[in-house]
Amino acid sequence: MAQHSSSAPSAAPAARTPLRLHIPEPPARPGDKPDFSYVRVPPAGSLPRPPIDAPERALREYAEGLIRVLDDDGRAVGEWDPKLDAETLRQGLRAMMLTRTFDDRMLRVQRQGKTSFYIKSTGEEAVAVAQAYALDPDDMLFPSYRQQGLLIARGHSLVDMMCQIFNNTRDRLKGRQLPIMYSVREKNFFSISGNLGTQYPQAVGWAMASAMKGDTRIAASWVGEGTTAEPDFHHALTFASVYQAPVILNVVNNQYAISSFQAIAGGERATFAARAIGYGIPGLRVDGNDFLAVYAVTRWAAARARANLGPTLIELFTYRAAAHSTSDDPSAYRPLDESQYWPLGDPIERLKQHLILRGEWSEAQQQALAKALDEQVRADLKEAESYGTLGTPPASPKTMFEDVFKHMPPHLIKQRQEMGY
């Protein structure tokens, strides 16, 4: 053998093929016919409900399947049926409808120039509402900006929400935040951040603290599928896995991140629920437009966390039916009528149909309720507007120097004086 150091020999290289870069694309662009052939929709009820102490390894099929309870006719089928009583379901239906009514009204209000910005959750109401129902009221929520349904399901005052949206004299956030960036401590609803995903490890930290203290409350957090690419997603899963934190980590896969199709976030090669596998965390994929399935899966994860069996990742498979926000125009990047082709339907319609099928609801009741909710929202709006809208200063600008620190340091007092206060 050679006695002097030499380069590593490489096996005779065959003529190499040129490499090429893959850039994911959505199946349809404006002008194209909507195409959801990439969505595999298994029959409702086809997946069994595992025990809450099943090891992650035994749960892999849930990361790639789709847990569904409501079938096409609105029947609840299979082991995952949470068997909720009709009154609870009517309440859930009502909360979803209230969320949608609120969203629609606030969009109009923004169009009228009474506020600068709004974000709807249309088509995704089951996510927030059913999950709020599946959790206990003292569980701590670390949401993104698209889970207003959590607050509504927890019975928070719409007037209070509107006052934040208007930044008016009753805005509890003192005019400091963009509309919809709620913070409602008494509902255990954490301050929403404008920076994507930061709440995810915070929820894990909160849950770790709860476990350190021998408390019984768990935490839950939400990000969009686009946000899973952010580092805080990885931080949250790593820490949740290592310390077996009692937390539910939700990924709301509504197919889009502003204009980007979910393949750009990594949805082409694996589901978002599958991300959990690599951390030894159960990943469950659920039909996000199926109130019963969302409720059941969340209950399962909550029970698991409460039993010191650790975290769960839930991918809520749904569709963002509206624009990203009032600053967005989806017709620039996806077919105009795409939402009508979404194969998992509308969460409100599906729950309504289920209740009617059970003989617990009727079209007439539905219409009456819709009207009542509309009136309620209008009345609340009237009250909220009486405290001012965009352009009504929420309070003295003097307050803008408060809460930077608990106690105002000299340099801020001086700057406040410089401003004239």
Partner: protein, 337 residues
Amino acid sequence: MSTMNMIQAINSALDVMLGRDDNVVVFGEDVGYFGGVFRATAGLQKKYGKTRVFDTPIAEGGILGTAIGMGVYGLRPVAEIQFADYIYPAFDQLVSEAARLRYRSGGEFWAPITVRAPCGGGIFGGQTHSQSPEGVFTHVCGLKTVIPSNPYDAKGLLIAAIEDDDPVIFFEPKRIYNGPFDGHHDRPLQPWSKFPQSEVPDGYYRIELGKAAVARPGSAVTVLAYGTMVHVCLAAVEETGIDGEVIDLRTLVPIDLDTIVESVKKTGRCVIVHEATRTSGFGAELSALVQENCFYHLEAPIERVTGWDTPYPHAFEWQYFPGPARVGRALKKVMEG
């Protein structure tokens, strides 16, 4: 020559560079098919193809980490961070990697990347769509920081940034994308087309990094500003009738100290204006440099007019934004001082 607003000028710079140099690639969140949330990359994917102009996952650190790798390969990546407020997840790749690579490798590797990020307030964006984080980048040796104030400069500086072999952070004051906002939010915005800086050559040209421009010559006081604040300062000078020499820094690092010192030695007075929070903002460095270099010429304390040391409060945008009234008060104060 065409009439362009700042977005069009930036788009044109990217277009020119994509056309001239096969190694230029443009990417970021929503940058591809959609053309960016501010439309800065509109039409470019269609023209240059999906591997030259494309969308990325929402991971600013990943965008800049991969950009550095592409730069090491030999490309000239131009990455967009959707809002300057979202650049922080990429801070480590910028500070520990892009800025250090040439040095730590003894010149073997470098990161010829350009990072574009819309910055600044005045658009009712609330605290996470209004920040001006340029100050922290000026503290990081190895990074260049550029902030244009008009379409002509934006294009020329962006081309120079892309051609630069060092990492350049290119902040775009989004408030002046459509017109030179002077802080009078209650008056209609004048579009760029009414101003000479909107006359932009269609082809290639560059404005050297590290050179300031005198936006308005004057003899009474030197006003140092950049980005949106250049226009605010021009308005304040106009309105107070104080003959200020307004210097548009354009590049913060490397700074054009000669132009600054020459002016302050002439005027003996200096007002520094930026939108970023005051403490340790770039105004502090400017103040230190001016007093170090012009101490014996200064006739009054240097004044800083800046954003307050608070987050940008949504409803108090105009109390926060350093407008012409505040700049005017500072001008009067240094004249009296």
